[in-house]
Amino acid sequence: MSEGNSEKEKRKIKSEKKMRDIMTAYYIDAKTARQNNKKVAWITSGGPVEPLIAMDIIPVYPENHGAMIGASKMGVDLCEKAEKMGYSNDLCSYARSDISCATVNGGPIGGLPEPDMLVCCNNICGTVLKWYEVQARYFNVPLFIFDTPFCHTEYTKEAKRYVERQIGEYVAFLEGVCGRKMDQDRMKDVGRVSFEGQKLWQEVLDTAVHKPSPMTAFDAFFHLALIVTLRGTQQTIDYYQGLLAEMKDRIHAGIGAIPREQYRLLWDNLPIWYRMKWLSQKFAEHDACLVADTYTSAWCGAMKYIDDNKFLDSMAEAYSRIYLNIGVDEMAKMVIAMIDKYQVDGFVLHSNRSCKPYSLGQFDIQRIVEKERNIPCLMIEADMVDERSFSESQVSTRIDAFMEIIKDRKKGT
């Protein structure tokens, strides 16, 4: 069953090393910002980062940090520390681990560089508001809240007016903290570069349409880091161009992400960071490839609202209508579009204790998918960072049973 070393080597994505180098350099830059007279802003993953890049402020992402903590299996220890500080163990594990990490400079990179300001956009959840309030008190630095009213069924003209006004307030906030004006030409360039980066990231994800897919969702979770953290920089474009070329080469050479792709699956919700390898092997053993996911495409899912020549104006709508800031039925529509686009045979939903906006509503999405596309669905109860909410044996059994159903269905057709 197991493939030889040369086969494994062939399947390995070569860009990975470059990505690790870029991220290392980025964190060194961020951690030495003070020495280089640069300011650091902590910002939420769905937040408008482009004005920070245009102002030469280094953006730092506590959520990316949370993912690293989870992937390095340091989540339980840090979550427990937060619980000792009085935070309930029902709270988001990114928030818990980041809040305690700030006080001990622990975690895989010895803590994040201290912020000069905090930028919180609530288009992903209400949790970030509370989390950033905690950090604003702890670090005693200015907090800007970019409030994007939830779009249950529409982006109202009232919301549009409010969010557009906040763009001006946001720029004024940054100018105030930095003590200098924003260069509007630079902002336009950054906007174009951001848009270009999002397009490229979507193209990278699109290569998974090919059978066999040259990449899995687990690869996407890894390569996602740049579109989250360095969106709006040339570096991101260069990197994704390289990655895209590599994916295209793999398609030409017939190299699939897993040895024998028989079944294609769609993933919903954040990754289970501390079991990525195990899960990817588990599915690969069943010849199943997770070809796409709803999470990594969230960073390019609102491109249709962006006018790359008027980035700053159009970003109001784009940031308001991202995947998590829309109604459950709208999300179900996007899931179905992905099922069709990537031609998947099954849908795996991670019911993530940490993330209510992502998880509440999943049962309804599952029912809609079963009704409209009649494909098997599997819901896994877990948490993105806190391993205490994960039962390996239970998940393993459920994946086996789920794959049996998929195999039977495929045989029947």
Binding site: M85, G86, Y87, S88, D90, L91, C92, A95, N122, C125, G126, T127, L129, K130, W131, E133, V134, A136, R137, L143, I145, D147, P149, F150, H152, T153, T156, E158, A159, R161, Y162, R165, Q166, E169, G327, V328, D329, S351, R353, K356, P357, S359, L360, G361, Q362, F363, D364, E381
Partner: protein, 374 residues
């Protein structure tokens, strides 16, 4: 029937009451789950606002829509909807507050066949001029949307009248709380709980009249009453409180609840609406000024300061926090508020509350130990 009996009946059987109100007065009933609901606008449309707090029944239908890590209010309200027990509703409105209610709104809209469904997407931050303008804008939109849903013309005059009614209720409630704070024995905690809860369910005109009478009666009674220095005065804090049993337990242990910071308590009647100028702007102004729910942002220390002020104003000896299980906004605030209380030398007891409550014995012991200490 005396007033308290009437309130108790309404609270015990709210659906019987609401159904009757609908049948006899032809009132359209509009449900809600959050204290940011602008009841004045619903009243001005000629409809009746009624708050829902969860369910008294076993939850099973809602389990196929909401995971076990969502709070019992959200799951309970959905259960009442899915079971059809509140099928008499003409509509349900969802002001935007926390992540769970946000998704409850979607799930309600997608699954509940009866009545209209309206979102009121309020701002999350309340302390900037654009947020204040947006608050007015969305309330105006809500006025239009609700008028359409109820096929009613919501006039400025009707709004002004509704504002007067609600302000009268708020003022009477505040007075009752104040009088009770001075002389807690005037009314048991359980009766106060029943009163506030009935206020969110029953006909507001009738309520306003009853409350005014109660205030005069209480004022007459208090004239000769002596202060009871032995009582240990306590402030309750948290989100929703669905547990009247807590009050007698505290009283039996020698305590008295003299104020609270619940959205099903003092936050419900906090702050009047300005009766000057544009009525919708007035309603917006109240929602912006009112002591915040932690799902909203009005600064970094508003809630801690507010609770400390309550303790000082009401000469309380300690604060009991009821932390509702899976209520993220409150759970995030708690450690900082606790720190502020410690710094101010105010003793705090934390109770994590689930529906149903832990055994009475266990709670009693904790209350007794806490009251012993303060």
């Amino acid at each position: 029937m005396d007033r308290m009996t009437e309130f108790r009946r309404i609270v015990d059987q709210p659906y019987v009451y609401l159904q009757k109100l609908k049948n006899q007065n032809g009132k359209k009933i509009v449900g809600y789950v959050c204290s940011y609901t602008p009841e004045e606008i619903i009243l001005a449309a000629g409809a009746h606002p009624a708050r829902f707090f969860g369910t008294k029944q076993q939850i099973h239908l809602a389990d196929s829509h909401l995971q076990s890590y969502s709070c019992s209010v959200v799951r309970g309200v959905l259960e009442e909807g899915l079971s059809g027990r509140i099928g008499f509703l003409d509509g349900m409105v969802f002001p935007h507050t926390c992540d769970s209610i946000q998704r409850l709104s979607d799930i309600w809209r997608m699954n509940i066949p009866f009545g209209f469904h309206l979102d009121l997407v309020l701002p999350v931050k309340l302390n900037t001029s654009s947020a204040r303008d947006y608050m007015v804008d969305v309330l105006k939109k809500f006025r239009t949307d609700l008028g359409r849903a109820l096929q009613a013309d919501i006039t400025d005059d009707a709004l002004r009248k509704a504002i007067q009614t609600m302000n009268a209720i708020r003022e009477s409630m505040r007075e009752i709380y104040e009088l009770r704070s001075r002389t807690p024995r005037l009314m048991s905690g359980a009766d106060l709980y029943t009163l506030v809860r009935a206020a969110m369910i029953m006909d507001r005109e009738r309520l306003a009249g009853m409350l005014a009478e109660m205030v005069s009666e209480m004022k007459a009674k208090i004239a000769g009453a002596k202060e009871d220095g032995a009582l240990k005065r306590i402030v309750l804090a948290g989100g929703i409180c669905n547990h009247p049993d807590i009050y007698p337990m505290i009283e039996d242990a020698g305590g008295a609840v003299v104020w609270d910071d619940f959205c099903t308590g003092a936050r419900y009647f906090a702050e009047p609406v300005s009766e000057e100028g544009d009525p919708v702007s007035g309603i917006a102004g109240r929602l912006l000024r009112r002591v915040v729910c932690p799902a909203k942002h009005a600064g970094l220390d508003r809630r801690a300061k507010h609770i400390i002020r309550l303790v000082q104003e009401h000469n309380a000896r300690g604060v009991i926090f009821l932390l509702f299980k899976f209520c993220d906004p409150h759970a995030f605030d708690y450690p900082d508020i606790k720190k502020s209380m410690d710094e101010a030398g105010i003793p705090v007891l934390l109770l994590e509350i689930e529906d149903p409550l832990p055994g009475e014995g266990q709670l009693k012991t904790r209350f007794e130990a806490f009251l012993e200490m303060v």
